[in-house]
Symmetry: C2
Subunit: 326 residues, 2 copies
C-alpha cells in the first residue's frame, strides 16, 4: 500500500489564463484534477500560492491526502532554469518580469521535491509517452494557441539544445515578412499566432472590412478572439476569418515542413488551443499543405491532433516529477 | 608494425566533378591523397572503377601498399542506403539514374570492407571531430556549393532522422517564392545554390543587364560560374553578382537562423565550394545576418568556416570506414 501511495505524482501546468493540476499514479493514469484561473494580481508569489492550492484541490479530488504526493512536476512558460527551479520572463503571466524561485517556493509549500520544465516541452513529452505520439521515437509537437510553441523528442529524448530549442513559431517563413517581435520579421507565429491573428482582424475591421468575429466574441462573452470564436466564424463562412486561418495554415505548413526537412521525424503532433479545437481535420490539412514543401514527399510524417487535450501539459509535468527510485 | 599498418583507412568523396581520396592513419592524420575528375561517360560502373583507382593512387602517395588498407569509407551524394551500400539518384553524377551497388562493387575491387554515408553528413562529421567544430557537442554544417547541403551532429551523434534529415537547403524562406525543384518553391537553395544563381545571372544578362560574370568565366577557362568566378566578380564590384550574393546570404541566414531556433546548436560550420572560397569573412557575415532572426539573440552560436577544406569529405568518409576493433 505504501509503495502505491507514495508513487502519486502531481503535475501543474501554468498558463496565462489558467492553472491546471493533475495527480497521476504509478501507471501514469490520472487520479484527480483541478483547474483555477491564473491570478491577475500579486505577481509570482500569488501565482505560486494559487498553483499549490490548485494541486491540493486535485489531490483532494483523487481521494488521496497531500502527504501522499511523492513529487511534483511543473510546466511553465518563459525562461525556465531546470537546475535551480527559477522561472523568468513569463511574459504571458501578469506581473512576472524578473526571475522568481518558483521551484523552491512550491517545494516548501507542498513538502515534496519539485522539478520544472518548459510548458511546451513537457506537453510534447506527454503526447510522446502517453498520447498521439505513442510508439514513435522522434516527434515534433506544434502547439497552436496565442503563440505557436514547439517541443521536440529525438530518439526518445527531449531535445532542448542549449536550453531554447524547438521554437517552431520562430522559423522564418517569409524573409522581411510581417513583424513578429523584438525586431524579428516573417516568423511563422507572425501569421499563425492567435494573438497576431486577432490584431490583423481588428485592423481589417478598422479598415471597413466586414467580419462577424467580434460579434461572435461578444455573443460568447469573451474579451478575446478565443479558439471557439474562430471556429464559429469559420462555420459561418466569415471571409476575414477564413482568409486569416488560410494564411496561418500556410505558415504553419511551411515551418513544419522546413523542420521536417531538417529533422525527418517519425510524427508531427498538432496541439494547443486552436489545434485541439480544430481537431484531426486540421491536422490532415496541415499534412496536405506540408507536402509541396517536403524534400522527401513520398513518405511524409503522419500528423496527429494531440490526444491528451487540456490535460496534456499537466500530465507531462507530472511525468517529469523527480520521484526517487527505491 | 602490423597493427599500425593495418589501421590505415581509405576515404573517398564522390562529387559531381571530382573524386577525392585520402588515406588516414590510426591518429586520423592524412598520410596520402589523390584527386581525379568524375567520369562523364560509362555511368555508375565507370565511376566505381575511377573511385578505386583514385584511392589506389592515394595509397601509393602515402608510401603504403593497397593491402595495408584496413577499411574504406565513402561519402556519396544522392540516396545512400548505408545498410546495403547501394546508392540511387545521384543526380549530380552523369548517367546515375537507378540504384547501383557501389559498396559491394568497391569492396570487391579493393579487397576491404566498405561503408557508405551521405557526402555532406560525413563532411560534417569530419569538421565536428577534427576541424572547425572540434570541442562542440552539437553542430550544423552548411555546405554552400552548386546546391546547399547540410549535416547535423546532435550531442555527439550524426542525426539522419529516417534517412533524409539535415536538408538545410530545403528550408522554406519565402512562401511561394522562387522555384526550387520537384514543385517546391521558396527553398533557401532556390536563392543560394550556385546552380540557381548562375541561371539567374544568365537571365539577367539576357534581359540586357550588364555583368562581367561570364567574361570572367571565359577568362578563367571555366564552363560554369565557379566559386572563383563569383569571387572575382565581387572583387570587381559587379552589381549583378553583388545583388545575387546578397540575396543568397539573406536566404542562408534566414534558413540557418530558423534551424538554430529549432535546434539551438553549439556552433555552425560554413563549408562547400563557395563557403570555403569566401572564408571566415562570409562566416562572420552569416553570423551577423542571422541575428535579427534568432529567438535568443544574446548568445548566438559561433559561425566558423570549414577547416578541412577540399579534403573534409574524404576525411569524413575515412572516419566512417568499418574498422573492426581487435
Amino acid at each position: 500500500m505504501t509503495t502505491t501511495r507514495a508513487r502519486l505524482r502531481g503535475g501543474i501546468d501554468l498558463g496565462g489564463t489558467k492553472i491546471q493540476a493533475v495527480v497521476i499514479d504509478g501507471r501514469n493514469a490520472v487520479r484527480g484534477s483541478a483547474r483555477t484561473p491564473t491570478p491577475r494580481e500579486g505577481g509570482p508569489p500569488a501565482v505560486a500560492v494559487a498553483m499549490a492550492e490548485t494541486l491540493r484541490a486535485a489531490v483532494a479530488s483523487s481521494g488521496a491526502s497531500p502527504g501522499q504526493l511523492a513529487a511534483v512536476g511543473i510546466g511553465a512558460p518563459g525562461a525556465v532554469d531546470a537546475a535551480t527551479g527559477d522561472v523568468a520572463h513569463s511574459g504571458n503571466i501578469i506581473g512576472w518580469h524578473g526571475s522568481f524561485p518558483l521551484g523552491s517556493t512550491l517545494a516548501a509549500d507542498l513538502g515534496a521535491p519539485v522539478r520544472i520544465g518548459n510548458d511546451v516541452d513537457v506537453a510534447t513529452e506527454a503526447e510522446y509517452r502517453l498520447g498521439a505520439g505513442k510508439g514513435y521515437r522522434s516527434v515534433l509537437g506544434v502547439f497552436w494557441g496565442t503563440g505557436v510553441g514547439g517541443g521536440l523528442i529525438l530518439n526518445g529524448q527531449r531535445w532542448t539544445g542549449r536550453g531554447a530549442a524547438a521554437e517552431i513559431g520562430h522559423v522564418v517563413v517569409v524573409i522581411d515578412g510581417l513583424p513578429c517581435g523584438s525586431g524579428r520579421k516573417g516568423c511563422m507565429e507572425a501569421y499563425a499566432g492567435r494573438g497576431r491573428m486577432e490584431e490583423r482582424a481588428r485592423a481589417a475591421l478598422a479598415k471597413g472590412h466586414k467580419t462577424s468575429l467580434f460579434e461572435i466574441m461578444e455573443r460568447r462573452g469573451k474579451e478575446r478572439l478565443s479558439s471557439g470564436v474562430w471556429q464559429d466564424a469559420l462555420a459561418e463562412g466569415d471571409k476575414i476569418a477564413i482568409g486569416l486561418i488560410d494564411e496561418a495554415m500556410a505558415a504553419i505548413a511551411a515551418a513544419v515542413a522546413s523542420a521536417n526537412n531538417l529533422l525527418d521525424v517519425d510524427a508531427i503532433i498538432l496541439g494547443g488551443g486552436l489545434g485541439t479545437r480544430f481537431g484531426q481535420p486540421f491536422a490532415d490539412r496541415l499534412g496536405r499543405e506540408m507536402l509541396p514543401h517536403l524534400f522527401v514527399s513520398d513518405r511524409p510524417p503522419p500528423v496527429f491532433v494531440a490526444a491528451l487535450g487540456d490535460l496534456g501539459g499537466a500530465i507531462g509535468a507530472a511525468l517529469g516529477a523527480p520521484v526517487r527510485a527505491r
